[in-house]
Every structure is written in C-alpha cells, then in structure tokens.
Amino acid sequence: MGDYHSHGGGRGHGCCPPMDLMRSEPMQLVQIIIPIESAHLTISYLGDLGLLQFKDIKRCGEMARKLRFFREQMTKAGISPSAMSLTQTHINLDDLEIKLGELEAELIEVNTNSEKLQRTYNELLEYRLILQKAGEFFYSAQSSATAQQREIEAQQVFDGSLDSPLLLEQESLADPSKQVKLGFVSGLVPKEKSMAFERILFRATRGNMYLKQVAVDDPVTDPVSGEKVAKNVFVVFYSGERTKTKILKICEAFGANRYPFTEDVGKQMQMIDEVSGKISELKTTIDVGLIHRDNILKNIGYQFEQWNHLHYVSIDRFYDFLNFTKAQIFQVRREKSIYHTLNMLSLDVTKKCVVAEGWSPVFATSQVQDALKQATYDSNSQVGSIFQVLHTKESPPTYFRTNKFTSAFQEIVDAYGVAKYQEANPGVYTIVTFPFLFAVMFGDWGHGICMLLATMYFIFREKKLSSQKLGDITEMTFGGRYVILMMAIFSIYTGLIYNEFFSVPFELFGKSAYACRDPSCSDATSVGLIKVRSTYPFGVDPKWHGTRSELPFLNSLKMKMSILLGVAQMNLGIVLSYFNANFFKNNLNIWYQFVPQLIFLNSLFGYLSLLIIVKWSIGSKADLYHVMIYMFLSPTDDLGENQLFPGQKTLQLVLLFLALISVPWMLFPKPILLKKQHQERQQGQSYTLLRSTEESLELEQDHSSQGHEEFEFSEIFVHQLIHTIEFVLGAVSNTASYLRLWALSLAHAELSSVFYEKVLLLAWGFNNIIILIVGFIVFVFATVGVLLVMETLSAFLHALRLHWVEFQNKFYEGDGYKFLPFSFALLGEDED
C-alpha cells in the first residue's frame, strides 16, 4: 500500500518533469554592483519584485561595533552616557559613519599612547624599588665583606709565618686578578612564585649561585599586565656566562622583570635621582593624557544615546514623524525598508557604487535583471548595474513557491523544521494525509458539514477578511482555512464510512447485511443477528449502531485500521528517503539505509498488515497477537489453529531472518564504506565522472563538506548506531503510536453518541416543548464547544504529531533555513 503511494513522487525524476513543491527552488548567490546614483531606485524595484534576499554585508554591523567599543571604553573610565538630549537634529547616517570612524581612530591612538606611558611609568617605579632595595643588599654585604677582610688580614698578621701552605690560600684570596669574577642579575619576581623561583635557580645552577630576596612592602603594579602584584626584589649572584644565560631564561619564564644595577654607590644615588625625576615627569604626561581621553569619552557619552538610538531607529523616527504629515503608511514603510537595505550593502572602494549580495531563485534571474535595467533607465544613470552569479559552498535558503492553498500546509511542515535545501518536501503528501488522518479521528459527517460551512464562510469572504485586522484566534483559523476545508471534506468522507451523522447511522448505500434469524426475532438480543445479504457496500453497517457488540467490533476494526494506515504512511516515509538518496546521488543511503529499513519494517509490520487482511478475507479465527509473539519466541513451532495460509511457517522464518539480517545491514556497512571512500579520496585515487552542472554542484557541496572535515570514524559509527537503534525501536513504537487514531476516533464517536442520547433524546422523551428547546440548546453548545472545537484541536494535534514524528522521522532532516526575500509585499506582515 505504501508503494502505491509512491507513484506520484516516483515520477519526479528521470522520466518525468520535477514536481512542484517536492523540491525547494534552485537558488543562486548573486552579486549586484549598482552605481550609487541609481541605488535607491534599484532597491525599490527589487523590493517590488520581492525575489532577492540581501545578505547583510557590513556597514551597520561595523557601526554597531564601534558604538559597542565606545560603550566599553566609557564603562572602563566610569563615564555613563548622559541622558538623551532631545534635540531633533537629524543626522545623516553617512556623516555619522565618518564621525564614528574618526572618533574611534582618535580614541584608539590615545589609548595606545597612554598604555605605553603607563607601562614605562610602572617600569620606572619598579626600577626605583630595585635601586633602593638592592642598594641596601650591597651596602650590607659590602660592610660585612670589609669586616671579614679585616678579620682575615688580622689573622694573617697573627699567624702569617707559622703556616706556609696558608700563604697560597691567602694569595688566592687577596689577589683580585685570580679571583673568579662574580656577575649578578637583579629584578622583581612575584611573591607567590618566589619559592619555586629559588628552587629552580638552585637546581639549574647546581647550587652555584647565591640568591638574595627581600619582599616589597606594598604591592607593585606589573608593567606587563597592569595589575597590582605583591613582589620580591631579588639579586642573583652567579659565575660564568652559561649560568648567566640559564638564569636569564629562568627569569623570563617566571615573569621576573630584570633591571640593570651598578655596584657603585655614587652611581646608584645618581640613578635614583634620575629615575625619580623621570617618574614625576611621566606622571604629569599620563595625567594629561587621561584628561584628554576622558574629555573625548565625555563628549561621546553626551551624544552616545542619541547615536545609538539613531543607529537603530533613526530612520524609523524620522519617517514616523513623516507618517503624521503624509499619512501614507505604505509609502513610508517602503522608504524605510529601502534605507535599511541600503545600510546592508557595502560601498565600493571607489565609493561610486554599492555592492549587494544576495540569494535569488534561479527562475527569477531574468526578472531581477529586468528590474536592474529598468532602474538604470529610470534613474538616468550613465552606467548600468552589474549582475553576476557567485559560486559558493554555503547552503542556499529553502524556498517553496506556495499558493494560498498550499502555504498553510507548508507552514505545518515548516513549524517542525524548514527543509534542507532541495530535500524531499513532506508538504506534498501532508496536503492529503494530514486532513485524512485528522478525519480518521474525526469521522462524523454531521460535524464535517458544520466545519465545512464554517470554513466556507472564511473562503468566500477571503478577499474582505485578508485586508482586515482579525483577532489572534480568528487570524489563525483564517490562515488555515484551506486546511480546515480539506479536514472537513475528509471528515465527511470518513463520517460516511463510519456511518455517523451526529452519531446517528443512516442506510444510505443500500440495505443492511444483517437481519433476524427468524421472523420472531427472539434471539436477536442473545445470539444476535445473522448476515443475510452481501456486505454493506460502503462503510460500517448501520445495524451495528447501539448493539451490544458494537464496541468490540469497532475496537477491533479501528485498531487494525490504525495499524494498516500507519504501516502505509511509514512506508511512504521510507520511500521518500529513497527519493532523497536518489536525488542527492547517495548510493550508500539507498543500499545500506533505505533497503534494510524497508525490509525490516515490512518483515515485521508489513507482515502483520498482511495477516490482518488475510484474516479478514478468509474469516479466520486465528489469534494474530499469538502469531506475532511466537514468531519471535519460538519461530520453529507449529502454528496449529493459528495458521492462516499454507507455508506460513516458512514465510515467517524467512521474514524473521530478513529482519535480523537487516539490523547489522543498517548498522555496519555505511560507516565502513564511508571510511573507505574517505581514505580513497585522501590518496587522491577517486576521480568521478563529470556530471551535469546542477548535480556536480551538489556533489561539490558534498565533497567539500566531507573533504575538509576530519574523518572521525567513531563519530560516524555512533551516529549510525543511534540512527539504527532509533529506527528499529521506532518501528515498534511508531506503529504503536498510530493506535491513537483508534483511541481518538473511538472517543469522538462515544462523546457524540452520549450528547445525542443523553441530551437530545432525553429531552425529546419529556414531550415538553420548553425542555426540548433547552435540551436542543445544550446539545448545540456541547456539540460545538466539545466536539467541534476541542475535539478538532485534539485531533489536529494528534495528526500533527503523526506527521512530524512518525512520518517525517523516516526521511526528513529539516535543518534548512527559509528564504526571506526583500519584498514590499511582505512589509505589512512584519510591522505591528
């Protein structure tokens, strides 16, 4: 049955023309270079045409960035933008752009200068600290050294002649030329790192160094980061060039700033003086700079809100103002949107033309070109606009050319997700299957006629209503008037099948098949009627209504019907996945996804459908639950009385085998083959034949998306695993989900029969005109309120779910984005 569905779509390829609405329109990225004098008119004509979606190239974005930068700077400096001045000076957007640019450049320059100065200032501060602290080391070290020297000298005098070997030692001590020359490095290291610093230095020099550290009392501003950090002043003494380079490296690694230092005390004093002088000098310079910056920022702050406002809504305000004087709302909106669009375009380097980029359907190419020519002509421009198609790897927007009938159905699909570019559109089938599944749950031709009348009102007054402002709910109903029309028509049909008119059956299509067994009709309430004629030709036999066996019969019928319809629709979904794979030339998806999926679903639930039909046709009493369950539990057992046809056991074994095979078939080959393909591509061995332009574009997109990405086998495998599990479990749960058709149609039938019997017939029974009128009013309100409004909503939602989940998850990706052309016709919808 599902295959039957596929005929319509199957002709969309190869032998037949492409089907409307099945695939989104082919799109192209176009670039238009417009001379500045005709820009306004061109945009206006393109807006009339409404087939071009402009891409925001820059400008406004750039200005917004500048304004953000100003705001950041102001908050940093603690200046708040002053309240908006209410002067109504209209600033031209172009002037504003230039002004913003100038201010930004100035501010950046001031900032970099002051940063540089600040850094030097901090460095000098640190240097002064070093000079002071290290000076102290040297002073104390020198004094102790001289004391030691004296001691040694004294000792020398004391026992000089006694010990000759000591002379050697003494010589080495005393002779400066033979002494190892000690170097030193001084600087500042952050306090928290000082321990590690010492340890690393010790290890790296193998102890051949001497480190002296003193903590600085107050935290010091680090010149690099600009933050306040507690630091230690250090002096490292070392010997040898190699050690020096090592130490310097370590200093760098620890972020220790080094400063030159002299041993000479006199020079030290001189340097301290020098540095202090420089510090005070810098301080004044920095202060002046800061004042300058604050002035700029204050200036900006004064106008900031105005600009900000202007940037976003200036044109709105300007034209809102005009609004009152001209009272030509549409014209105003038109102008406004033209300016908004112009803001999105970028100026050419020569500033003589604007460059526009945008998406446009391929079929609109000549229309766009005509509009460009017309604009050039009408604006008396010397130069025409240049129209060219760009090649891009970006995915184009999705555009379905819908009409007033199909648009509401397309919106049902889009509410779930906009189709990927050129993906098979479930909307084509939704136009029929959605109202049909709704009607399966809403089968009552009385209610169907009520709905038809209501929607006819909307359709006949379409012209008048579409120009009017409607309430939210009315607006929604009006928008979906053709959906409701289809729902009503199908409800009338299914109502005739269910034989219910406000729950009352009619013998419209001939005589009932059932009659009493004998003229006395004595056992009609115990054994029941007997089938005396051929089956009632159309729909449910009217005799069933009100009988004791009505509910068991309808339950069995509707439950089986739900499964049959569900399996058919799911098969349609899988077939659509074939169309997608075929269209995108994805053979892997055909052989390792579509085929096993089709086999899996049909070997289980297709078989169940077959059993249902066979059971009905031969009137067997076989228990289908038992058959299905034991097909898995003990497939080799004899079916016994549950056998419906010869060879059933063999068929079951084959189907079970196929179902079991198709799971690994879905799971393993695709990721493995993808990996193989990837490897081949990597080695540059796979050359494919050139195809026609359209297909090769697709292919290119495919290739580029796969080629540039890193191939993650595990990721692809996990993805396939999830997909497989989802499908296998989904096959069961989705089939079960279709049982909602049964539940809702049962609820609808029962409710309407309750209202009819317990309200209308009860009131009738009193033989009192007033009670009858009251009863009738109650019946009408209950029917309209509960059955026509609430039941419609619930059946609508359930049909929606069946389409979004059970149907669309078989093939639909829905990760595209909608084509939103710049169009004056759409302006009215956006505003207010």
Binding site: Y4, G8, D20, V432, A513, A524, T525, G528, P537, G546
Partner: protein, 70 residues
Amino acid sequence: MGFLLTTLIFFLVGVVAALSVCLCCNGGPSTNLFHFTLVVTAVVCCWMMWAIVYLAQLKPLIVPILSEGE
C-alpha cells in the same frame, strides 16, 4: 457490489479526477504532476479506508447483538 467492482469504481473516479484536474488547472508539466500526486494520494487514502472497513465486515466473526431495550 463486490470488492473488486468498488475498487474499480475508485480507480475510475481517481482517473477522472486526475484528468479533470489536469484539464481544469493546467499549469505546466510540473504543476500537473503535483496535482496528479495529490489526487492519487487522496484516492488511495479514501480507497484504503473503504477497503479496510469493507474487508472487516466481509466474513464477520461477531455479529450485531441487539441491546435488551430494543
């Protein structure tokens, strides 16, 4: 009226509907194909619904048992 006869009627109705839609709203091959698909889908849905209900009553396992009141 048997199962096959009614099925044939459904088929004929489908053909007539498809043809009349193609003739009435001729909008180029792709639009015609779209309309054809809609008609075919609708007819198939309606036929399925009818066939299911018809088959279910063909060889009834349970028969209507009238309520006591009647």
